[in-house]
């Protein structure tokens, strides 16, 4: 069990959220509470870097869906970067890999 740690930074394309630890039933609320505080302008990308993600369950999936909705309603787009194999597998089972944009790393994700 790992605590959740989220680091925010800015890139040319928009905000980048670096997520480390477990995104699960206990911690997902932390991620979702953070979303409204992240400003996204129309046309920008909200990049969520999951390179340091340890574990993701259905609450984690819900959190990513919430991020997707948040980006859409701001006129922007959610982009996932460096998704770990396990999570990628879950995303493909639930079909979100067809809905969300996924890049291999945040460098690619923030490339204009």
């Amino acid at each position: 069990m790992n605590a959740l740690k989220i680091t925010t930074r800015d890139a040319g394309t928009g905000p980048v959220l670096e997520v480390a630890g477990d995104l699960d039933y206990l911690n997902a609320g932390q991620f979702r509470d953070l979303l409204p505080t992240v400003t996204l302008r129309p046309g920008q990308r909200l990049v969520v870097d999951l390179g340091a993600l340890d574990f993701c369950d259905s609450s984690g999936i819900t959190a990513l869906i919430a991020a997707h909705h948040h980006a859409q309603s701001a006129g922007g787009q959610l982009v996932l970067a460096a998704v770990p194999a396990n999570t990628l597998r879950v995303l493909s089972i639930v079909g979100l890999d067809q809905v969300l944009t996924i890049h291999p790393d945040s460098e690619a994700a923030t490339r204009v």
Partner: protein, 430 residues
Amino acid sequence: MMARAGQHSDPHDADDDKTAQAAFAALLEDSAEDLYESAPCGYLSTLMDGTIAKINSTLLDWLGLARQDVVGRLRFTDLLTVGGKLYHETHFAPLLRMQGQINGIALEIKQADGGRMPVLVSSVVKHGTTGEPLLIRTTVFDARDRRAYEEELLRRQRLAEEARRQAEADRARLQDTFAVLQQSLLPDTLPELPGAEAAAHYHTASPDRLGGDFYDVFPLDGKRFGFFLGDVCGKGPQAAALTSLTRYTLRAAALHDPDPVSALTTLNKVLHERYSASGDPRYCTAVFGTIDPDPAAGRLTVHLASGGHPPAVVLRADGTATYLPTPGGLLVGVLPTAPFTAASTTLGPGDTLLLYTDGLTEARTGKDRTSLYGDEALLAFAATQAGRPPHAVIEALDGLLAGFGDGLDDDTALLAIGVPSSDDPTSETR
């Protein structure tokens, strides 16, 4: 206090100096006598037989007695309550004899007005030049605050214990409520399938939370049956409400149009309309399908569709187990329109279709519980059960789940539908 030569002294400074000087001088004059008599604690000196030889004013005041009535007339034990006297004789005095001192013993002294005052007593034996015990010096501390403190501690301890017991009772009641609710979200019994068998099991990970898994098997028309199995996101009462809505929507949709993709599409519309506006995304993953039994031929046909749910496993009579892939189906309820992937299979004698929720594959295993059970392990386990009837497969999986112990974070629902093998001794036309 030296005068500051050559400096103008402020009249206020001079007054302060004088007050400080006076106080300091008063301290010096404070004799040992005064310090003894008016000490914040009681002092007492007794002979070895307990006769009081000296006593300070503080203690006399606490007792409400006059010095002449005490010195040379009373023993230390005369100042104590009955319990104190007994304790003194059986513990205090022997210990004092054996170790020469004794500290911090709680006792009560009797006051002249009939009251009792809790005190803490320490005594030390003073020895003469040849080492023989001469007298006992005793200090008596006011323990009223301490007693009040201890009583308060005890009271709070009892309250905490009571609260704990209440919490335990509440928790037990809540668990009972959840168990009842959970049961109401699941079918009581599965219908009899002609020439086939259905078995199911719901494994709760924690009795303190309502789970979000669901399943059902129900008749569609005179011939076919509908089934579904799924997992709503989240846990608790919200999830339970979603489960309820999902089940009844699927049942109703199926009766109207049993095509699996249509049923899921209807469910998607209903959930999306219901929940998307609230900014709190709610969805489920689900497999919906129809069973078309052909008992004369000893087989049944399954048509199903998956909305973001892990693929079903087909166990064959020849001992193999494979996934029935349904890639690309999306979680149900997240987007206004969503794709769902269909698949079909025919089950013959000894074949079983197994549906499950991800509580199973996501179970944490390994010594440190960091690896997940996973798809491959499930397939390998299923292969060991291939050829056995549905209820046996479910029992085996239940055993597997039990073996995960606290590695199981999530509830798991299992549904198995199969055709008994022709040589199965327990098979009968059901």
